[in-house]
Each structure stands twice: as structure tokens, then as C-alpha cells.
Amino acid sequence: MSAEFAHARHERTIERSLRARAVLALGPATMLGGVLWAVVQPYRITLLHPFGQGFWWLVGGESPLYVVLAGLVFWRVVAIPLAEDMDAL
């Protein structure tokens, strides 16, 4: 393998690795956003003060937790397989 070709391939590998890390970071960054939102507006999480709340407020009123859940699902279902595929290339 010529040095020039090896260098170009090494650079492509580094770029792929950076992109894989960026994809892997999307999920945790989203989850962190949800946690920060919950800290700033704790009243948006009904589970923290559940007494007197109806069913839908307890199930459907947890918007910061939805952000955390979206980040978690994305990370587990999409980001990790994507990073594996990038490594496999």
C-alpha cells in the first residue's frame, strides 16, 4: 500500500470516527436537554407532585420525560447500530 493511499484512508477513517461520535452524542445530548428542562421547570413533571392529578396528567403531562425518552430510543435503536455500521465500513 502506498503511503499516499494509506494517508488518505487514515483520514477517511478519522472523519468516519468523528461522525460516528457525533451520531452517538445526539441521543445523550437530547436526554440531557430533557433533564435540564425538568430542572428548570419541575412543575412540567406531574409525577413529582402526583396527588390530585388525573390519569391523563400523570401519563400524558410529562413533556420533559418525553424528550428524555425520545433521546433514549434514538440512541438505542438508531445511533448505536449506525455507529456499528460506520465502524464496519
Binding site: 445526539l26 437530547t30 391523563w56 424528550v67 438508531v78 455500521d85
Partner: protein, 193 residues
């Protein structure tokens, strides 16, 4: 029945997921994205599903004709965009011009937001968000429009993903009755928690 604001938050979660998928696809490129066949269907499938789920919203949450038409048109165009993208993902549709369906979806949705909001910008938070959502969608339609002409444009793909995140943010900010920048019309009702 869940409150209308909760339904907005559920759809906000859907748009957040759409935005994450769009950014991930942009980061890894089409070649890697298509390595697992199921992944090609994630984004268009979710769009189509959200269109289907807008039908019960139209049925159970609209209290006027104009609201019903607005929600019904969202359901139809979101299903159209999702269906077109599904066809492209499966290879059954080949022309890039099918991507214009997404631009059409955003234009129709934006117009529907602006037309069916009868109150002025600072009437209440919901009214403000309707105006902002309408204009965001109308202006944001330039990105899928660009993608139809230049499918490999990374700037257009990034812009489209940004619009999805913006819609998610705006829908999460929605409340049934709440002030916006300190303004709340006495006709809007009594704010709760």
C-alpha cells in the same frame, strides 16, 4: 380525554424524533444510512404514522369547521409526504420530484396554521405559537423545495432538520391557556399550572 396541549406535546416528541433521524442521516450519509434496510423506512414511516394519528385528533379535538379542515389537511398532506418518501425509500418511486410532496406538506400546513388561527399574535401563547409555526413552516418549505432540485445539498438537509427541531420546540411550548411575553387576553380563559 387528554387535554389538547398534551396532544401537542406528543406530536412534539414525534417531530423531535424526525429531527434526530434527519440529522443522523445527514451526518452518516446515504450510503451508511441505507446499509440496514429497515432504517430507510424510519423517517418516512414516522411521517406517515403521524399523518394517520392526526385523523383522531381531527375527529376528537376540533370544535369548529375551520379547525377540522386545518387538522384534516395536515393529516392528508403528512400522509402524502410520508407515502411519497416511503415509495422513494423502497425504490418503487424513482423520480426526485416526489420530494416536492414534503415541500407541499409544509406549505399547506403553514397556510392552515395561519388561516385557522383567528386571534392576534399576543392573544395567548397558543395563538402566538400558531402564528410562529405557520411562518416557520412556510419559510422552511424552501429546504425540501431545494432538496427536490438538489438532492445532495447538505445545507438544505440541515435546514430541513432544523425546521423539524423548531416545530418540536414550538409544540412543546404550547399550553392551552398561558401568557406570552406577559400578554394574556382576558377572553383567553383562566391559566392553569
Amino acid at each position: 380525554m387528554p387535554r389538547a396541549e398534551m396532544v401537542h406535546w406528543w406530536f412534539a416528541s414525534g417531530f423531535l424524533m424526525l429531527g434526530l433521524l434527519a440529522v443522523a442521516r445527514l451526518l452518516v450519509g446515504e450510503e451508511v444510512w441505507a446499509m440496514r434496510p429497515w432504517r430507510r423506512y424510519l423517517l418516512p414511516g414516522l411521517m406517515f404514522l403521524m399523518g394517520v394519528l392526526l385523523w383522531p385528533v381531527m375527529t376528537f379535538y376540533t370544535n369548529s369547521t375551520i379547525h377540522m379542515i386545518a387538522h384534516g389537511s395536515w393529516a392528508q398532506v403528512l400522509m402524502l409526504a410520508g407515502g411519497a418518501e416511503l415509495g422513494l425509500a423502497s425504490g418503487k418511486l424513482r423520480s426526485q420530484w416526489w420530494r416536492l410532496c414534503t415541500a407541499l406538506t409544509m406549505v399547506v400546513s403553514g397556510v392552515a396554521f395561519l388561516v385557522h388561527e383567528q386571534q392576534h399574535w399576543l392573544f395567548a401563547r397558543a395563538a402566538f405559537l400558531h402564528h410562529v409555526l405557520g411562518w416557520t413552516l412556510l419559510v422552511g418549505a424552501v429546504f425540501p423545495l431545494t432538496q427536490a432540485f438538489r438532492p445532495r445539498s447538505r445545507a438544505a438537509a440541515l435546514g430541513f432538520a432544523s425546521v423539524l427541531f423548531a416545530i418540536s420546540f414550538l409544540l412543546f411550548a404550547d399550553r392551552d391557556t398561558a401568557a406570552i411575553f406577559g400578554h394574556l387576553s382576558p377572553y383567553a380563559g383562566v391559566p392553569h399550572r
